[in-house]
């Protein structure tokens, strides 16, 4: 009997060690978890985190007490088959009332901050200083519109640090759920039932987000980014997007990398389905590769789904104004370096089987030109 008990204890020890390893592994520095709910960078997420920690500590307390009692019982009341029958107890009303009341008290203690925070989550900020954003979910990418600026972009939402952001969200197709863990909790999106969410970014940075409602074959790769930046940088961003829709400027290249070299293209797009054939040649680009890319953008039919003008929403494929500067391509999936962008342009069906964008048979050279062109957008 004794060696069995020792074995039992040894095994129990191993379980504790294993659990500790897991817990410690989970406590690695917060920076290595870029999508963590435990590292809030916005005030709504911070409120939620506060509430979460109350429940967590209460739960840990209860857990330790109950599991402790359980282990105590196991060691204290170990019996042998030939032991006399223990005292036959059927219950104890006092004890039962106490252990009904204590959990009730703990829950009441949790309930108060819960209700307060629930109402906070619905207190969407109002006023002219609030940045309004319309979010439209698509299989499998996110469209963002700034009604105050008349701009549309996709998969990378820029917001100024410190300014409240109010999101009004719908979907174009099936349900999705908008989730940037470091700013706020999830909010589902429906077709004819707009939902709201709000947050205020506290620190500049690039924050990953992801669709959190199963939405079909590529749900796993429906990610996006939120770029929180200083207000001045945000203004510059807005200006750049606006410029993507400006009438054809002088062909001279502008200094900035995102400068408008082929802005006339945007102006050509009268309607969402303007046939590429009707497009008159664009203003001559400085770089012949860029010009070739622009031609290919028309010739390959990219223009059929993608607007390159942030002021002209199209809604079939992501708006590509400013795409050259985005950190990721393919809905937050591939790094937006030349290799990543090339891979995506040439083989979208390999990267994300089932997306609307077909493999168009773009050759290596053509891809190079397209990348060069898109870098100017």
């Amino acid at each position: 009997m004794d060696h069995r008990s020792a074995r039992w204890r040894r095994a129990a020890g191993w379980v504790v060690v294993a659990l500790l390893v897991v817990v410690l592994a989970g406590c690695a520095p917060a920076e290595s978890f870029r999508q963590s709910t435990l590292n809030p960078k916005g005030d709504l997420a911070r409120d939620i985190d506060h509430l979460f920690r109350i429940t967590l500590y209460a739960a840990i307390g209860v857990f330790v007490l109950v599991e402790g009692a359980l282990l105590f019982v196991l060691f204290k009341f170990r019996g042998r088959p030939d032991d006399p029958e223990p005292k036959q107890v059927h219950g104890n009303t006092t004890v039962e009332i106490i252990w009904t009341a204590i959990p009730a008290l703990i829950l009441a203690f949790i309930a108060v901050p819960t209700v307060r925070t629930i109402f906070d989550t619905y207190r969407v900020p109002k006023g002219p200083e609030v940045l309004q954003v319309e979010v439209i979910g698509h299989q499998w990418w996110w469209e963002f519109r700034y009604p105050q600026y008349g701009l549309t972009t996709a998969n990378e939402l820029h917001v100024p640090v410190g300014r409240p952001v109010a999101l009004k969200m719908v979907t174009q197709d099936v349900l999705h759920s908008f989730w940037v863990p470091q700013f706020a909790g999830k909010r589902d999106v429906f077709q004819q039932r707009p939902t709201v969410l709000w947050f205020r970014a506290e620190e500049a940075g690039l924050y990953p987000g992801q669709c959190a409602e199963f939405c079909g074959i590529q749900h796993g790769r429906m990610a996006f980014q939120v770029q929180a930046e200083a207000p001045a940088e945000f203004d510059a961003y807005v200006a750049r997007l606006k410029a993507s829709g400006a009438p054809a400027p002088a062909p001279a290249a502008t200094a900035s990398a995102g400068g408008v070299t082929t802005a006339s293209l945007g102006a050509q797009q009268g309607g969402p389905r303007a046939p590429a054939a009707d497009t008159t040649p664009a203003a001559p680009a400085v770089d012949p590769l860029v010009a070739q890319g622009q031609q290919l953008f028309l010739a390959k039919g990219c223009i059929g789904c993608h607007s390159t003008d942030a002021t002209k929403p199209m809604g079939i494929g992501p708006n590509l104004a400013g795409v050259g500067r985005r950190a990721y391509i393919a809905a937050g999936w591939l790094k937006n370096d030349d290799a990543g962008l090339t891979h995506w342009i040439r083989e979208p069906q390999t990267v994300k089987t089932g997306v609307l964008m077909p493999n168009l048979g773009v050759t290596e050279d053509e891809a190079k030109a397209l990348v060069a062109y898109l870098r100017t957008r």
Binding site: W8, G26, T37, L70, F77, E96, A111, P181, K186, A212
Partner: protein, 608 residues
Amino acid sequence: MATSVLDHAPAAHAEKSGLWSWLTTVDHKKIGIMYGASAFLFFLIGGIEALLIRVQLAKPDNNFLSPELYNQLFTMHGTSMIFLAVMPLSAMYFNFFIPLHIGARDVAFPRLNAFSLWVFILGGLFLNASFLFGAAPNGGWFGYANLSSKQYSPGLNMDFWVIGLQVLGVASLAAGVNFFVTILNLRAPGMSLMRMPMFVWMSFITQVLVLLSFPVITVALILLMFDRLFGTHFYVPSGGGDPLFWQHLFWVFGHPEVYILILPSFGIISEILPVFSRKPLFGYAAMVFSGCFIAFLGFGVWSHHMFATGMGPVADTVFSLMTMLIAIPTGVKIFNWLGTTWGGSLQFRTPFYFAMGFIAMFIMGGLSGVMHSTAPADLQQTDSYFVVAHFHYVLFGGAIFALTAGAYYWWPKMFGRLLDEGLGKLHFWLMLIGFNLTFFPMHIVGLHGMPRRVYTYPAGLGFEAMNQLETVGAFVLALSILVFMVNVAKTWAAPATAPADPWNGATLEWAIPSPPPEYNFAEIPAVHGRDAYWEMKRGGAPALRQYTGPGEHIHLPNPSFWPLLAAVGVLAVFVALMLHDRTGPLGIVAAVSLLFLSIYNWAFEPAH
């Protein structure tokens, strides 16, 4: 017509083996064993699906599974484990032990019982047959509209799902009626409701939940089926339908379903702990009422699955508080179990290991449940791996541990053989370690922002280490199941020598031989208190007269082939609906005819 008792002496039922006898049996014990065997098979399939999922997620950007196959596997894993594993494994114990616990010779409707079994098996096979067509359901076990619509899920995948679940619902409802009536009507003299074993009580509450919640999912599925097959717009926004309505219907069923899965396990644990503590259940009445209260609240909390839909602060508050309330009766149960062991003379046998493991793990699931009862915190936790961890602690750490405890506890009664203690304890430790290794890290990775139902994840978000651990854990878990199978095989080879009462049991099944004779009780027992068999052994109640020889005339129901054929008819009707555009009305007419033919023959054949 009028059958004589003498015609049906046990000798008439002597022929017990052979395929035909299993196909036509109406014996609740044989039916229970078939429930168990088929459910274990489905459990293994679901487990293999889980292992494939874990391999795919072992490293970021993995290509082991295609996204389409991954989606099929996680959908079938969830659907199988809920409807084809945990529910029917509970049904195995309902079938085998409710009649024995209440001192009855069979259930109220033996043929209906066979019908439930066959409908379940056929429904399970039908669902899994979808893999043969490469069209396994791929929209999640929750089948959210409008992804499940024909537009976004063309192909037969979700047709298999919507039909399969309706078929399984028929089985559950038929069994629900049967056990509800059995428990209310067939108790031995003296066994008042408040003297019933706790397993019978929890099973009874489970049947009530089945009866009240399955009609709701049936309607939800019918509407979805009409959308998919006949072009209605119940959940299609372009036609004015509202996908959110599906969520309400689904969770009005879905939350009681959670208690349908766990309450039988509560019952099993409440049977095992007193026996291995050699002490009666602590606070019997509180256990009964907390079970009822949990079931009642279970119908008022469905929207806590929908906090992220933005229902408004008032609804969120109501559903948050209602959900928190459930923690109170659940806590009462846990404390009463500990109270049962407190001061006992604990016998460290395998069933007891699993029972205590159940308590230890279920607490974790309960506490994480309280954590996401707070709506704002749930906005971060829902649809993340934190929730995956939560419900696996409840359904694996809870239900599967308890069902396994039940297997070790009741194996001798069911098969006349005691499972090996050494292998049993190895099974327990491997399962406990593997389980925690698999599911504990999911809490962490979920809080760090890993969403559920993703076929892969990118490197650099800090998900890698936890996912690797989880995959290792899953294989340890699989190994523990393998040890169980070895144990069963080893025991099977040995002769059936288990005594009638190997554990000093408290309930009536231990008063009869192992395995029990076909008629269960030679004499219907008289019950004089709770823990009826302990009462008998102490002399507080008369001992049971055992079978005294071939002269005994015990009246038993006849075997029947019609329940099986009726079950085929049920499946045929649904399949004909599914394929109506290919087979035309003729298929439906043929299927309905088969169903009616079987039911009429069933109704007019002599039952006894």
